[in-house]
């Protein structure tokens, strides 16, 4: 499996599990968890877009896509109260300035390699430009 996608999937797996763990606590009522959920969903959707534009083999793409979709389902199914608010502001969370859901999200920062997503499929059409009039001409085919 492509290294970039493999690492991202590993990261999201642990982040989602951690968020799931925190959702069993008062974080369920917290805007921090809700924000982390949104970020994970966005990240996964971006991963899906990167995947769709990448040049990796179709079979591998499909495998990764299945995992991305399953993670999306997990992320969307995170236990969250209908109305959330910062639990620190409500004086229910007294762990200090830190925030568990955001901390969980930062686990993704452990991934530092590869730095960018795999090369996307780029199609360029080569053209010749006439030196005299500037008109574009197709490249002559050599038989």
């Amino acid at each position: 499996m492509n290294t970039y996608f493999k690492n991202q999937l590993r990261g999201y797996d642990v982040v989602l599990a951690t968020l799931g763990g925190f959702s069993e606590d008062i974080c369920r009522n917290c805007i921090g968890l809700s924000g982390a959920q949104t970020k994970v969903i966005k990240g996964l959707k971006k991963l899906r877009m990167d995947l769709e534009g990448s040049l990796i083999p179709e079979m591998e793409k499909e495998k990764i896509l299945i995992r991305v979709e399953s993670f999306l389902k997990v992320a969307e199914g995170l236990k969250l109260a209908e109305e959330v608010s910062c639990q620190k502001t409500s004086s229910l969370c007294k762990i200090g300035p830190g925030c568990f859901p955001l901390g969980a999200l930062e686990l993704m920062n452990q991934i530092t390699e590869p730095t960018t997503s795999p090369e996307k499929e780029v199609r360029k059409m080569a053209k010749l430009i006439c030196e005299v009039c500037g008109a574009e001409e197709p490249i002559p085919v050599v038989h």
Partner: protein
């Protein structure tokens, strides 16, 4: 002097305002002069002079104090929040007029003239002074309940403070040619309304909303066909077809009504399944009474996440590595120390027992995770390619997010 409680969900609409004393008779609206077409004020920085006015008003004793930018939604939010609190009898309008929106003149015109049958503020110079979303009753109440103290173009915080102060005096107090005092709450109870009122009451159609042109089009085929009125059988067939369609729709509605009446529980359940997202039980934790108890509660909260992360890593290549076992061992040691601290603590036995039970559950879960540190590092063998970071160590570091109460020496 009569004072009443605002409606339960007061202030019903969110916005850029501060909430002060609910029993104060005055609300302050500071015009937010931002260029027409810019993003809503929530996502922009409020100029410091505006912020100061809002602050001064609330600190002087206003019930609500906030900014106004738009001549439609902004005013509607003010209406909703004011009618929710019958104690509010004055509306102080200050700040520089909002260019493009002319929200100040719109608000003044609303209080003075009201709206016409197309829900447009009469006499407003604003571009779109439409109040489409608030109930007519609320607009009527707003106009009856409040008196405008017009301080448009005023940016002096001292004058605003004086105006607020004058409004809550028990005896008539002169202020800029007005005689202000707190008249007590409005005679009628507060109204709880929101901008989304029409979403919940789509049946409340006002006559002006019915498209006359559309009605004309429906009528036309009956009366004319290629310029000629329909006659005889042709007219009867057209009428009958229309009646048939109306009957079908009415039958559908009747069926729904019967079902709901005959099987109210099922109908309710079906409805709730369709419309209402199942509510999850919200975790309730008794609020720790002492700092000592809070310390243990916070640690437990941290372990819950760490454990979930470890379990996920155990399903991954970390299972065969050395970092996860090392992290698990470290977590176990900390947990043991925590248990010792718990035993030494002065918490009541019942609470101790409860915390100990959770600690033991975590300990048991940790026992089920790999603890063989002799396994090769997955980076060294080339399986882990995430870079210099390590998921297992970072997961354990989640416990470091707990910084309060201060770490106990014996842990």
């Amino acid at each position: 002097m009569l004072k009443v409680s605002p409606v339960a969900d007061y202030p019903t609409e969110a916005g850029c305002f501060l909430r002060g004393n609910d029993y104060s008779p005055v609300a302050v609206v500071v015009l937010l002069n931002a260029p027409y077409g810019t993003l809503p004020p929530e996502v922009q920085s409020i100029p410091p002079e505006i912020e100061k006015l809002v602050r001064v008003a609330i600190e002087t004793g206003a019930a609500l104090s906030g900014t106004l930018q738009t001549e439609n939604i902004g005013i509607e939010k003010i209406v909703c929040n004011v009618v929710g609190n019958p104690n509010i009898r004055y509306l102080i309008l200050c700040g520089k007029e909002v260019s493009g929106h002319n929200s100040g003149t719109a608000l003044k015109a609303l209080i003075k003239e009201g709206i016409n049958d197309k829900r447009t503020i009469v006499g407003s110079q604003a571009v779109t002074p439409y109040l489409f979303n608030t109930p007519l009753g609320a607009i009527k109440r707003f106009r009856g309940q409040t008196t405008l103290v017009d301080l448009t173009e005023e940016m002096n915080s001292e004058i605003i403070a004086k105006a607020v102060w004058s409004c809550y005096q028990e005896n008539p107090t002169p202020f800029q040619g007005l005689s202000l005092c707190d008249p007590g709450a409005f005679v009628e109870t507060g109204l709880s309304c929101r901008l989304t009122w029409k979403v919940k009451h789509p049946e409340e159609i006002e006559s002006w909303e019915i498209d006359g042109e559309f009605l004309k089009k429906i009528k036309e085929p009956l009366e004319k066909k290629v310029g000629e009125p329909m006659k005889g059988n042709e007219r009867i067939v057209s009428l009958t077809k229309r009646l048939l369609k109306v009957t079908e729709e009415l039958a559908g509605i009747a069926r729904l009504c019967i079902e709901e009446l005959e099987r109210p529980e099922e109908a309710l359940r079906e409805k709730s399944l369709e419309e209402v997202k199942p509510q999850l039980p919200i975790p309730i934790r008794e609020e720790p009474l002492t700092e000592e108890e809070l310390y243990f509660v916070n640690q437990l909260r941290g372990y819950r996440g760490v454990l979930a992360a470890f379990k996920a890593l155990d399903r991954d290549i970390c299972h065969d590595g050395c970092s996860l076992p090392a992290a698990v061992i470290s977590a176990s040691k900390r947990l043991k120390n925590l248990k010792v601290s718990l035993d030494k603590s002065f918490l009541p036995d019942k609470k101790k027992e409860k915390i100990r039970k959770e600690l033991e559950e975590f300990e048991e879960a940790l026992q089920g995770l790999p603890q063989d540190t002799s396994q090769p590092c997955q980076k060294t063998v080339g399986n882990c390619t995430i870079g210099s970071g390590c998921f297992a160590n970072a997961s354990l570091d989640l416990l470091k997010l707990v910084t309060e109460p201060a770490l106990r020496s014996n842990v």
